[in-house]
Amino acid sequence: MALMKVKFDLKKRVKLAQMLWLMYWFSIMAGVLVFSMGLFFKIELRKRSELMDNNESHFVPNILIGVGLLACCLNACGGKICYDSLDSTKFVKWKAILKPFLICCLFFNVLLVVTAAMCFVMRIPLEFTLAEGLKNGMKYYKDTDTPGRCYMKRTLDLMQMEFRCCGNNNYKDWFEIQWVSNRYLDFSSKEVKDRISSNVDGKYLMDGVPFSCCNPSSPRPCIQQQITNNSAHYSYDHYTEELNIWKRGCRDALVSYYGGMMNTIGILVLMVTLLQTAVMIGLQYVNTSLSTLVNPEDPESESEGWILEKTVKETFTDIMAKMKAMGKGNQVDEGANEEGVATVS
């Protein structure tokens, strides 16, 4: 009992081939789309690789690029096959490789589904990479005279302004590190000496944040220094003040930015998978309808098309039997060799 059998006459076959050819063109464009999304994602990761300690994994964008290119090739092939299927003389040369080609397409679809799953899952390792990278970034904020780290301050400032965030988890992260370089500290002044002697490592710690944490929507000029000291500023209560500096942490902001991007890409890849599955089924129909012509000489005769020759269960048992036979074949060969060896000796 074949799976989803459909009767085909010449007109229906021609229409199927034409529609399938058009769908293959759309699939090629979808493949280009996947490729460009992989490229875009890769560029976005490279842009902020400084904040991730240059440690980020480019695995997912590379897979997307590869899958996009492969999709273009497979679909171009499929389109050519459809185009030739209307001419029986041209179609003959494709007949032999059509079954392996369809199996390739099946594996490719599985690969697409795996890629989509990875897009959704990549969020978790990215979060860890970002947490580590941002912590180090903030540590090197003051090192504007150290080669290799001199642009960290600018990168962090621009990132905080662009993503509207402050610090790693929140603004208090800036209180725990020295973000003012020693070159700009007057070590003869009492205030500096007090702050340095107040902690074990001799760091200049203060309850202040860089200017890039300031929120432009605040109605009052930005309060960056002495944030936790209510009496230092007129009419100020840091427990109720909400608009002065950005409340969000940069790790959250970046993870949600990249997470949103990856979710969109994952959904698009799933839709491309559906399209690929549809064209694969269409090509199977073309294949079967052209190989079951009632009268092989007459191209206008009727034929039947199906997805699987037997039902799913039977096809599965067939495949298992074939694999067992292959495995037994190897064993029998080895057994015969052993006997041969035994008889010889």
Partner: protein
């Protein structure tokens, strides 16, 4: 004396019609792109309309949008005329429509040149408008509690951050204005009282700037306050310090940005103008060449095409006479008295 006469055998006519049909499709897209660029320019000008005092400069994108739309229509017509010119039975119906169509199209296409010229000519007006707008913006920076002005602070802050600029001409503009609202000043403190008394208007002026003037590329944390006091900060000299704040004024930054936009759009508009004029000239040749074919039995004869039947001067005189006649008929319709003796006089120079 005919202007720029060209002989057109049948094959040349057909090729002209086909080439022109294709070109009209290209020009249609070009017109759509001109429209899109006009929309883009208008959106960009509108985004910063809060710091602009007058809307004079908006005429440039308005012209681009109008001409872009009109040229789409013109080119569709031109394409239709080309298609019909290959069929001599269908071509005569365009006879009365084409002359006013040409005048109208030439006028609209020349508006593109006008738009380009205006984009340069209105630069002083744009600069003046920005000067006044930014001055007001800086003045009302502190009024975050006044309805209608409460977003000025956010607008100016975001503008300074995005365009990497500070103040109107430079950062010293902030020293002349009170940009901290009275709500956040402690009037019992000595420092505030001193500053308020130090000037006639009783304003709290200081040598400080808002945080949005800070330059992220500076190697040291941003110095916003006591900018002119070298002793207030360790290892600081305001005369040589260059990276601490943005050096540019926002007026200059915005003018450069808009001029840059218009210089980018300029070549595309010029290309569209040249394309459109080429199409109109070719269409005129096609029309005049086809006129020789109308009424003839053999459509494959050779005809002549020209731009103007008579010389430029004579055509202008004729047009003037026609306009006078039209006006006179209009007057005759209004007034009760007629002037029949003037009409034969008008006709005599035309026939001479």
């Amino acid at each position: 004396m005919v202007l720029l006469k060209i002989k057109f055998p049948f094959q040349k006519r057909v090729r002209l019609a086909q080439g022109l049909w294709l070109l009209s499709w290209v020009a249609m897209f070009s017109g759509a792109i001109t429209f899109a660029m006009g929309v883009f320019l208008k959106t960009e000008l509108h985004r910063r309309s809060e710091v602009m005092h007058s809307m004079d400069i908006h005429i440039v994108p308005n012209l681009l949008m109008a001409v872009g739309l009109a040229s789409v229509g013109i080119n569709i017509c031109a394409g239709k005329v080309c298609q019909d010119s290959l069929d001599p039975s269908r071509f005569p119906r365009w006879k009365t429509f084409l002359p006013p169509f040409f005048c109208f199209s030439v006028f609209l296409t020349s508006l593109l040149l006008v738009a380009m010229i205006l984009s340069f000519a209105l630069q002083p007006s744009l600069e003046e408008s920005l000067k006044i707008g930014l001055k007001n913006g800086i003045r009302f920076y502190k009024d975050t509690d006044t309805p209608g002005r409460c977003f000025q602070k956010e607008t100016i802050d975001r503008l300074q951050i995005e365009f990497q600029c500070c103040g109107n001409t430079n950062y010293r503009d902030w020293f002349e204005v009170q940009w901290i609202s009275n709500r956040y000043l402690d009037f019992t403190s000595k420092e505030v009282k001193d500053r308020v008394r130090s000037n006639v208007d009783g304003r709290y002026l200081l040598d400080g700037v808002p945080f949005s003037c800070c330059n992220p590329a500076s190697p040291r944390p941003c110095i916003q306050y006591s900018l002119l006091d070298n002793y207030a900060h360790y290892n600081y000299e305001y005369q040589t310090e260059e990276l601490n704040l943005y050096n540019r004024g926002c007026r200059q930054a915005l003018v450069n940005y808009y001029m840059g936009l218009m210089n980018t759009i300029g070549p595309c508009v010029l290309f569209d103008f040249l394309l459109q004029m080429t199409i109109l000239v070719s269409l005129r040749y096609l029309q005049t060449a086809m006129e020789g074919v109308i009424g003839q039995e053999n459509v494959e004869i050779e005809t002549e095409g020209y731009i103007l039947e008579k010389g430029v001067k004579e055509t202008l005189l004729e047009t003037k006479e026609k306009m006078k006649k039209l006006l006179q008929f209009a007057q005759v319709g209004d007034a009760s008295a007629t002037t029949p003796e003037t009409q034969p006089e008008e006709e005599k120079p035309a026939t001479a």
